[in-house]
Symmetry: C2
Subunit: 282 residues, 2 copies
Amino acid sequence: MDLSHFAHQAKGYLMPIGGAEDKISQRLVLNRFVQRCGGSNASLVVIPTASSMSAESGSRYCKIFSELGARHVECLNIQHRHEANDPANSALLDNASGVFLTGGDQVRLVAHLGGTLLGDKLSACFASGLTVGGTSAGASALSQHMIAYGRSGASPSQRMVQLSPGLGLTTRITIDQHFRQRDRLGRLMTAVAFNPSVIGMGLDEDTAVVISPDNTCEVIGSGSVTVVDGSQLEYTDIYSVKGHGPIATLGMKLHVLTSGYRYHLESRQPEPPMQTTPVIKQ
Amino acid sequence: MDLSHFAHQAKGYLMPIGGAEDKISQRLVLNRFVQRCGGSNASLVVIPTASSMSAESGSRYCKIFSELGARHVECLNIQHRHEANDPANSALLDNASGVFLTGGDQVRLVAHLGGTLLGDKLSACFASGLTVGGTSAGASALSQHMIAYGRSGASPSQRMVQLSPGLGLTTRITIDQHFRQRDRLGRLMTAVAFNPSVIGMGLDEDTAVVISPDNTCEVIGSGSVTVVDGSQLEYTDIYSVKGHGPIATLGMKLHVLTSGYRYHLESRQPEPPMQTTPVIKQ
């Protein structure tokens, strides 16, 4: 199936960003997030918990979102699990139209929010229509099967990727970030090879995917998004490769999408931008 | 939430077994599986794909289930993904009342079934009421967040456990097996520390859990089941520990349950066997 397709009955938009998005010039990606959350009506909560310099990171995004026209912006700098279990903190989400998760370390973020009142509230609000964006670690953490750690390299190999349970706002996609910049195709293919029911999505820096409740993904930003689709995988030896050896995968399908391209999670079909026939990009 | 709680609207029973269950004497655990599937009306499909000696393993379980009174038993020995995508094979599940996954290697099993027609069919039939049992690797594979690999030891440490997407028939529980025999508490605690929204359940050999559609777990067999509940976790440093260093976890709750004890996944409450007050076992 998987049974997890129920998660896609959620009414909220997801917006993973590949990290290092433009924060000073056009700010196309961050502006899109604010617009998606209601523009001048946007009421945003920034959660900078992933960052080791969370106060600075939180303030910076709050400032940017205010400059981009959001009506209300608040920083929820969770540093302990008991804060994530404090009803006063999770109540901040009640009137929010968007939540933004900063970069840093996705394991740190999930270790603070996973299984807490705030973690549950985030899922519930997302199901009811909240937009949730995240950059870098904040993007990875959106996945049900989250990439916690990994090694660089273009080819899949054993023990190259360590998965852990993420915030689970998308169960279909395992998100990777800083993708081209940090040479992460191998680890994403390894993640998909374990169980091709999961779609791998690698986001370059300054590049984002806007995932709508109908499971359509739209690419925006200056880089590419690499989709790893294992639904036609004929064979992999992932279960027999020892140590850190290279893994064979036969029939893995890749799409590289740039700004304006779409991808449909249900049908696993890519779609060129606003044309009825495929285009060759100049 | 998590959103994955929808998976628990499934109507099927799950029956993970900790491996090395009695196959020659009383066969209490395997008999319970047959009874759960309808006893003399049971129509069973054994999938021995996890095993490196799958033909032998498949025949052995088919023979046992026949001896235990099942009306019809069939072996579906998938060895290639194209076989798992063959509609004739997945059609075998149409009239089955139970599916049994043998031991072996859970990574091998999921690499063959994940994202295939048969994998999807198994989930769909489980949602409609099919009973699914699995022993050892076949138990691990039932989890959404599956333990793929790991090291032994009583205390959690970094890189001690490698998770990957399993068959996803239970999204709440990460199942471990041969639990006491192979000293696996540390790796299960590590798995839960990543994200305490997941409940860890470690099954000793010759011990099983019968999970009903209402999310009640009943323990049967000669050993124990260890439940690792991180919902009250106050703090963990899992995100900052380097290399293979030891991980601190404050406030992790453990239950050790034996035959007849129950555990409720929704409320995370254990329950002594059929008494209104707690009993001290003799």
